[in-house]
Symmetry: C2
Subunit: 214 residues, 2 copies
Amino acid sequence: MAKNVTAQTLQRLPLYFNYLVSLPENRKSGNISATAIADALGLNDVQVRKDLASVSRGGRPRTGYVTAELINDIGHFFGFENHDGVIVAGVGNLGRAMLGSDSFADYGFDIVCGFDCNEKITGTDINGKPVRHISEMKNFCLNQNIKTGIITVPEKSAQEVCNIMTDSGIKYILNFASVHLNVPENIIVHNENISMTLAMLTRHSFFEKELTFR
Amino acid sequence: MAKNVTAQTLQRLPLYFNYLVSLPENRKSGNISATAIADALGLNDVQVRKDLASVSRGGRPRTGYVTAELINDIGHFFGFENHDGVIVAGVGNLGRAMLGSDSFADYGFDIVCGFDCNEKITGTDINGKPVRHISEMKNFCLNQNIKTGIITVPEKSAQEVCNIMTDSGIKYILNFASVHLNVPENIIVHNENISMTLAMLTRHSFFEKELTFR
C-alpha cells in the first residue's frame, strides 16, 4: 500500500497520528470514523478517508476504524516499531534536550550517544546516554551501524562535524545549524531552522492546516 | 512581487538565503549568478532564476546578482529586519535552548521572555531573558503586544498552556509538544515534532532536495 502514498498524504498522516494518540484512553479503546477525524482536524472527510485507506485496511462502513488498530497501522507505516540508533553531535542546550527526551523511543528511535569536543562534559551521562569526544564518533558509528545523526553544534563547526558524520557512515543528517552543508550525493540532509520556521509561520502564513505535516 | 511567490518557491527561498549567508566574506562582497547558486545546491538553474526574480529585481545578464543585495532582498521578503517579540512557555532543556540562542535576532525575532510554573526557575534570567511564572503570561503579552508563542512544555500541559496563550492574544503558535492542540479558528499552530521529522527523513526519504524548505 505504502507505495501509493502521495506527498500530500504523507504530510497529513502525522496529523492523524498525533490526534489519535492524544485522545483520552476511553476513546482510544473504541472506534472512530474518518468523518470524526476530519471534523476534529478541520479537514475534508473524503480526503481523510482516502489518506487513511492508503495505510490501513481497517476502515468499515458505518463503524469506521478500531482506533487502536488505526494508530498501529499509521505507526507501522512510519516505522515506529523500529529501534534505529541516532547520535547527536553538539551537547549544548539543544543537544541536551535531544538526549534528555524520552519521546524519540515512541517513534522507533534510540538516541544512543552525544558527542562534543568540550572535555568538561565528555565522559559524563545525560539521561543515561553517554557523552563522548567527537574523535570517537567514527569508531562508535561504524561499530554500532549508526546511520542517522543530528547536528546541534554552532554554525562555524557544522560543516566539519558533517564531514566527520559522512566519514562515519551516517546517511541521514538532521541539521539544526543554519548553514548550508556540502555532502556527497548519497547523503540526505534536512535543515531544521527554527527561526526560519517562525518567519514562515508568522509572516507568510505558510503553514495552512492541510500543509502542516508534523 | 511577493504576491506571486508560489508555495514551491517559498520552500526554496530559505535554501538560497542559508547558502548565501554561509559564503566566505570575500565571496559575499562580490557578485553571484543564479547558475552558480543552482550548481552549489544541486537545483535547476531556470528554477533558481525564476525563484530569485520573484523576490529581487537585482539580477543582471552575465554579472548576476550583487550577493549582499540578494541576501538583503530575500531577508526583506522574510521580514528579517523586524523585531517581533516571541515568548517561550516551558523552560526545560528545549525552552532553555530557545532562550539561550542568539540566532533568532538575525531573522527578526526577539525571544523576550520564558514562562514556567516551576518556582525554582521563575524570577531567574537565561541569557539576559527573564523567566516568569506562567500566571503572568496574559498581562505580559497584552502589555507588550506579543503575537507569537513557542510551546516547549510536556505533552500533558500543552493544551492548557495553549489556552493561556490564545487568551493572551497570541496568534501564532509553534508547538513542540507532540499533541494535537485545539485552537480558535483565527489562531495558526505549526506542530514541530522532531521525532516525526526523523521518521520522514530516514524512512520515507521525504525531504528531497527541492522539497526541503528550511
